[in-house]
């Protein structure tokens, strides 16, 4: 069983920077776990601790029920794909893939077979004699993947492997990585700060912020039921509208059964619907359009609430007929509303 356990894992760098605090979650065997969060939140640190490239300050990490805290990276049976690929520039593609196997004294025919197999899967068979500098970015990426695959490790680790590729290639490789991981069934941990990449790849999504875990779960669950304001704002594009309601409420926003205490109300742009003024609804807003973004299949209206000028984004399907400066009303259903405690940032159970 190649599951990964993290138990109360903490990291304090030399110099006192606390990069991670009490990280705990389990990745089941064969799952694709994505770590996502803003820059500097500690994703790479956590991944590198699993790899054995950083020491573990506190807590325990185990792979396949074996604690790996004191093991060298080479003893953990993991393989890693780096952001800059870290291919050995002086070795051919073949040797890049074979190097780790040779160091492990794998028999020659076995190495040959595994490299050929990986090359076939990744369609880089014709590149085996080339040096990394003779490859395109996408091809290098494949070689880096190949180097990981040939090892048949317990766990794959990826640190933003696609961020050096152009947008189109990135999407293509994203699909391939997902397919590959499915086929091989190898437990994977994948770091990215691109939430779209995270959503599409993950079986299990871990949202991190400032060295803490905000929420762990399947991507849709995080989308539908964010447990914190941070997750609500981080997952989904464009992000959820988060409007702070003081005790007295705000002008331009009408909410049925408004809680008495101050709350943050969250509503995704795609859950708004334009309606005539005065339509009764659980939530209604009135705003003046300040900007319009047409992306083809849908249109985003940016506006300011009447009262305090808070920005709100409303999505409408297809093309919009509205003009900048126009005043519109939008409504939303009760079950699409999210409430958060402004003090703690946590989700509130409001009926």
């Amino acid at each position: 069983m190649n599951n990964v356990h993290l138990r109360k894992v903490g990291k304090i760098y030399a110099g006192g920077v606390e990069a991670l605090r009490d990280i705990a979650f389990d990745i089941p065997d064969g799952a694709f776990c994505v770590l996502v969060g803003p820059s500097g939140c500690g994703k790479s640190t956590l991944l590198r601790m699993v790899a054995g490239l950083e020491t573990i300050t506190s807590g325990e990490i185990s792979i396949g029920d074996r604690a790996v805290n004191d093991l060298d990276p080479s003893e953990r049976d993991i393989a890693m794909v780096f952001q800059n690929y870290a291919l050995y520039p002086h070795m051919s593609v073949y040797d890049n893939m074979a190097y780790g196997l040779r160091n492990r004294k794998t028999p020659k025919p076995e190495i040959e077979a595994r490299v050929q197999e990986a090359a076939r899967i990744l369609e880089i068979g014709h590149l085996l004699d080339r040096k990394p500098r003779q490859l395109s970015g996408g091809q290098r990426q494949r070689v880096a993947m190949g180097r990981a695959i040939v090892r048949k490790p317990r766990v794959f680790l990826f640190d933003e492997p696609l961020s050096n590729l152009d947008a189109k290639l990135r999407i293509q490789m994203r699909v391939e990585i997902k397919k590959l991981q499915r086929t091989l069934g190898i437990t994977s941990i994948y770091v990215t700060h691109d939430q779209l990449e995270a959503m599409t790849l993950a079986d299990m999504l871990v949202v991190m912020n400032k060295g803490n875990i905000e929420q762990v779960g399947p991507p849709l669950q995080l989308y539908e039921r964010p447990e914190t304001v941070f997750v609500a704002g981080f997952i989904g594009a464009p992000p959820m509208n988060l409007i702070e309601l003081p005790e007295g409420g705000v002008a331009g926003l009408a909410l049925e059964n408004r809680p008495v205490a101050p709350v943050i109300v969250g509503i995704r742009p795609e859950h708004f619907e334009l309606a005539p003024v005065g339509t009764p609804a659980p939530l209604g807003i009135s705003m003046q359009i300040t900007a319009i973004e047409m992306v083809g299949a849908e249109t985003y209206l940016y506006g300011a609430l009447d009262g305090r000028g808070r920005e709100v984004i409303v999505r409408v399907a297809g093309k919009a007929e509205q003009q900048i400066g126009e005043r519109v009303t939008a409504v939303a259903e009760r079950h699409n509303l999210h409430f958060f405690d402004p003090a703690t940032g946590r989700r509130l159970a409001v009926s």
């Binding site: 590198r48 790899a51 054995g52 490239l53 060298d72 990276p73 080479s74 993991i78 393989a79 890693m80 780096f82 952001q83 800059n84 690929y85 870290a86 291919l87 050995y88 520039p89 002086h90 190097y99 780790g100 160091n103 492990r104 180097r147």
Partner: protein
């Protein structure tokens, strides 16, 4: 920029050609002298073109030596120079590579102290510590040996700094990839770091080979026996103040032979040489 060609270009061509001629002239004269007989040279009437004694003079120089002064065949001297230059170049590169590796890739007590110890030797050229160093080599019974000739010269702050500078540019991820691939420090050094440093090593080799071949003061002190002489020392001993004894055609053939290997290295490996020189000094 728009270049008004041809007419304006004459000036730089003229200056450069003149420069090339002036630079080359002393060597040309030496070569001409090495192809004439002693009599033609010593009466001061040597022509400006090569004479008929090329083979004879070079044969004598390489295999027999001068009749009156050093009496050692220059072939032996060239061999000594070659051994010295190779030992110095390879030795410097080897010990500097491993020291730079230690300083860059490890953390240990007194790391900076070690670094500065190496660095400060820049301020202690052999010229300022001639006799005490001589005495140590003598005490170690290394006079007139290749070891005495080379070992004291193979410490190198310059090479260590160059390699350190290069190592700093090697991405950290390569170390990490190697560690995941199961390579320890020495395996990383041999399999990855040294192959990556190959251009720096070659550039350093060119510079240090020339440095070693051209050594003068140190071999002058350390070698006394004729068969340990290097060619740069040997030629000086061929030239004596009483002109009568100097066999100029042999001396000049020796000069040409002494210049040949390092000049060939510089011209053949010009790119590496320029890289080595400008990167170590700046």
């Amino acid at each position: 920029m728009v270049q008004r060609r041809s007419l304006l270009d004459i000036v730089p061509h003229f200056i450069l050609a003149l420069g090339v001629i002036i630079i080359a002239f002393p060597v040309y004269i030496a070569f001409v002298a090495s192809t004439w007989d002693a009599a033609t040279i010593s009466n001061g009437q040597m022509p400006l073109w090569p004479g008929p004694h090329f083979l004879e003079n070079y044969y004598r120089t390489i295999f027999i030596g001068t009749a009156k002064t050093t009496r050692e065949p220059v072939g032996i001297m060239m061999l000594n120079s070659f051994v010295m230059a190779m030992c110095i170049a390879i030795g410097k590169i080897a010990i500097s590579l491993i020291s730079a590796f230690a300083v860059v890739y490890f953390r240990f007590p007194f790391r900076m102290a070690a670094f500065w110890t190496i660095f400060i030797t820049l301020m202690l050229p052999v010229e300022v510590r001639i006799y005490p160093t001589y005495k140590i080599v003598a005490d170690l019974r290394l006079l007139d040996t290749y070891a005495g000739l080379t070992i004291p010269l193979i410490a190198s702050a310059t090479a260590t700094l160059l390699f350190r500078q290069f190592f700093m540019t090697v991405p950290d991820e390569l170390v990490e990839a190697s560690r995941i691939d199961g390579a320890g420090p020495m395996k990383f050094f041999v399999d990855t770091l040294v192959p990556l440093s190959i251009t720096s090593v070659a550039a350093m080799f060119v510079i240090q080979f020339i440095y070693g071949w051209n050594q003068y003061l140190w071999p002058l002190l350390i070698t006394t026996s004729d068969n340990m002489q290097t060619i740069v020392i040997g030629i000086k001993k061929m030239i004596v103040t009483q002109d009568a004894l100097t066999e100029w055609q042999i001396a000049m053939a020796t000069a040409v032979l002494a210049m040949l290997p390092p000049v060939i290295v510089v011209v053949a490996m010009q790119k590496l040489f320029v890289k080595g020189l400008t990167e170590t000094e700046k």
